[in-house]
C-alpha cells in the first residue's frame, strides 16, 4: 500500500476545508489544526461554565418568581452548552479533565467578560442582552465551522440561545419602563458592561495572532473586527429604542460606510483583564478549583460504587 505523504494529506485536507466539507473525528488533520480546535472549543466550553458564576450570583436574589425561574433556566442552559462543547473537545483526543486542569493552571482562557462582577439586578439584563448578544454573533458564524462535532454543537447551542438574549433585553426594557431608580440602575449596568462587551470580540485584527490560520482552516468564519462592528450596528438601535445611552461620546452613524463609528477600546484594560488582573479573575478560578477539589470525594464515591456493583454482578 502506497503511503501518502504529509503534503498530500495536507493538500487533501485543505481541499475539503475549501469545499466546506466537514472534518470528522477520525479524519486525518494537521496537528496544529487539532491543537487550535482543542484550544478554541475548550475555551468556549470554559466560558460557558465560568459564565454561570456571575449570573448564578443573582438567582437567590431575583426580584420575582418568574425572573428566578428564567435565570435558573438560563444558567442551566449554559451548563448544558458547556457540556456539549466539552463533548466536542473530547472527540479530539483530550479528556475534559485535562482541559479543566489547563484552565485552572491558567494555560487556557475563558471569555474575559466573566471577570467583571455583577453588582445589581440590572446587570442580569446587561449580561443577557450584551454578552449573549455578542456570543450569538460569534456562534451563528460558528455553525458553519469546519470541524463536524463543533459545528453540530453550535447548531444545538444556537437553537437554545435565542431566548437568552431576549430575556436580558426584556429585563432592561422592564427597568426602562419603571421608576427613576430602575432606569438609573439599567443605565449604570450598561455603562459598566458596554466596553467589556466590545472587548469580548478579542484584540483588533492587526493584533490577533491566531486569526489568519483559523480563518484559513475555517475554524473562525469572520474576523474579530468584523464581528465587533456587526455587534455595534445591531445593538445601538436596541439601546436607543428603550431610552438607554451608549457610554461612547464618539459613537455616530457613518452614512458613507453604512456602519456606526465608535470610540477607542481601552486595550490596556483588555490586556490587564485577559492577563489575570481583572476585578474577578481570582474569584472565578478559585470558585472552579474549589468545586473540583471539594467534589473529588463525591466523584470517587460514585466510581467506587460502580466498581463494587460490577464485582457483585460477576
Amino acid at each position: 500500500m502506497e503511503t501518502r505523504t504529509i503534503e498530500q494529506l495536507s493538500e487533501n485536507f485543505q481541499q475539503k476545508i475549501d469545499a466546506d466539507i466537514k472534518i470528522e473525528p477520525n479524519d486525518w488533520m494537521p496537528d496544529n489544526y487539532r491543537k487550535a480546535l482543542i484550544r478554541q472549543i475548550s475555551q468556549h466550553a470554559h466560558s460557558e461554565i465560568v459564565g454561570m458564576l456571575p449570573e448564578g450570583n443573582w438567582i437567590t436574589r431575583a426580584p420575582s418568581l418568574r425572573r428566578k425561574a428564567v435565570l435558573l433556566a438560563k444558567v442551566q442552559d449554559e451548563a448544558g452548552h458547556g457540556l456539549y462543547l466539552y463533548s466536542a473537545t473530547e472527540t479530539l483526543g483530550i479528556s475534559r479533565e485535562e482541559t479543566i486542569d489547563d484552565l485552572h493552571e491558567g494555560k487556557v482562557k475563558y471569555s474575559s467578560i466573566f471577570n467583571y462582577p455583577t453588582l445589581t439586578w440590572a446587570d442580569m439584563g446587561a449580561v443577557g442582552w450584551l454578552v449573549d448578544g455578542a456570543a450569538i454573533m460569534n456562534q451563528v458564524a460558528l455553525c458553519r465551522t469546519s470541524y463536524g462535532p463543533y459545528a453540530r454543537a453550535m447548531v444545538k447551542i444556537c437553537k437554545e440561545e435565542s431566548f437568552h438574549q431576549r430575556q436580558g433585553y426584556e429585563i432592561m426594557t422592564s427597568l426602562m419602563n419603571g421608576t427613576e431608580v430602575q432606569k438609573a440602575m439599567a443605565q449604570d449596568a450598561l455603562n459598566r458592561f458596554w466596553w467589556p462587551a466590545l472587548m469580548m470580540f478579542g484584540p483588533s485584527d492587526a493584533e490577533s495572532k491566531h486569526t489568519e490560520q483559523s480563518m484559513r482552516w475555517r475554524i473562525k468564519r469572520y474576523t474579530n473586527d468584523e464581528l465587533r462592528q456587526s455587534f455595534v450596528d445591531a445593538t445601538v438601535p436596541q439601546a436607543e429604542l428603550i431610552g438607554l445611552t451608549i457610554p461612547d461620546p464618539k459613537l455616530r452613524w457613518n452614512e458613507e460606510r453604512g456602519h456606526y463609528d465608535f470610540g477607542d477600546i481601552d486595550w490596556d484594560e483588555f490586556w490587564q483583564v485577559v492577563g489575570g488582573n481583572g476585578p474577578c479573575n481570582k474569584e472565578r478560578i478559585e470558585a472552579r478549583v474549589k468545586a473540583k477539589e471539594e467534589g473529588a470525594w463525591v466523584r470517587e464515591a460514585a466510581l467506587a460504587f460502580a466498581s463494587k456493583s460490577k464485582s457483585r454482578q460477576n
Binding site: R4, N12, E24, G80, S95, R299
Partner: protein
Amino acid sequence: MSSNEWPLWEVFIRSKQGLNHKHVGSLRAPDAAMALQNARDVYTRRSEGVSIWVMQSALITASDPKESGPMFEPADSKVYRHPTFYDLPDGIEHM
C-alpha cells in the same frame, strides 16, 4: 490523565416522533444508571417521550473512514477499489 475521571458515554436519542436513535453527544457518568439519568437531564431537557440509549465510548467499535470521493484521492491509494485487484474474465473490456 487521571484514572479517577468518570468514564465517557455516548448518547443516542430517539425523539417522540422519531424513527431511530441519533447520536447527540457524550457525557461523563460513573455507571449506566447515572448515564441514563444524566442524559435525560442534559440532552432531553425540553421534551418527554424520548428513548435514550447510552454506551461507554470505549466499548464502541468504529470503522476507519477512508477519505472518499475520486476528486480528492489519487486512485493508487484506494487499494480496495483498484481494478487491477479484480480478475476479470477475458472478453469483459469495459468495466
